[in-house]
Symmetry: C3
Subunit: 117 residues, 3 copies
């Protein structure tokens, strides 16, 4: 099986391709001064880019795990989620509370997608 690791950082690959699936690292916003919806939008934009590099897309997400620094932010995050996901191809999703490495980080998402084909 060919495994392709892309968007390398010193400690991780942001996306790993192992046909027919694509696995992402936890994606967070670049600008952690944003509110949770803004942070989610930035993380989604990164996911779009990482998935595209593998011939995948948000329409091909199978499973998503979302962490919020405070679970009460969920209602403020969900509209950003709904504006981003493909409504005809909704992922299976779990969303729980979990603090992230930076205390300002409110949102993190890790997904498994399929390759577009």
């Amino acid at each position: 099986m060919a495994i392709i690791r892309r968007e390398l950082e010193p400690i991780l690959a942001n996306v790993v391709e192992a046909s027919p699936f694509v696995f992402t690292a936890g994606a967070i916003a670049d600008d952690l001064s944003l509110d949770v919806a803004g942070q989610a939008r930035e993380a989604f934009r990164d996911l779009d880019k990482f998935l595209a590099l593998c011939g995948s897309s948000k329409s091909h997400i199978l499973s998503a795990t979302i962490w919020l620094s405070d679970i009460r932010l969920r209602d403020k995050m969900n509209p950003a989620w709904l504006a981003w996901v493909d409504p005809t191809n909704l992922p299976a999703r779990a969303c729980v509370e979990g603090k992230m490495a930076d205390a300002e980080c409110l949102f993190e998402i890790q997904v498994i997608a399929s390759k577009g084909r």
Copy 2:
């Protein structure tokens, strides 16, 4: 690859089939007034239903992630887990603390399974 998304809710699919695997959303109890064992049993019942829709079952679970609102509930949850899982086909499991969207929610589980065949 054919991707089939079932049991749709407004923001997610409860189960997504992408042969040869099946990915579920986080499953929680309907009745959040139950204790953790009761909530786990309700979530397992939902998983049974979702997996069956994809030709899979609890005997085909590969990986499970469980979140408890308070990790000290683990000992009260485990008997419900043991009563539910197929003892000849135990999943790989991680169980950690993580608050869920509803403050009454004590238990959530997300799994990856294989198709029965």
Copy 3:
């Protein structure tokens, strides 16, 4: 699809093989008196063993989820991670806070890998 479950404990399998992928349970240290780097090293040693049983290895990890009992331990854990991972085959990784079953447990990791070939 042949599913092989190995290193069985009473409530879970430590590793489940479902070609072309391998799924591990949450791995933790045996000696919970160690600091976070020491606990991580023990968990990695277990992962090495479990992956080898399936013809896989740390070089074949696709996705890793790490939980820390206190996210501020991340900087103390990362050197152990970097000393362990294959730098030419970095996994996609998410690392969040989440308490584990034993209050002394500081580190847990669950991975999805590919089979060696």
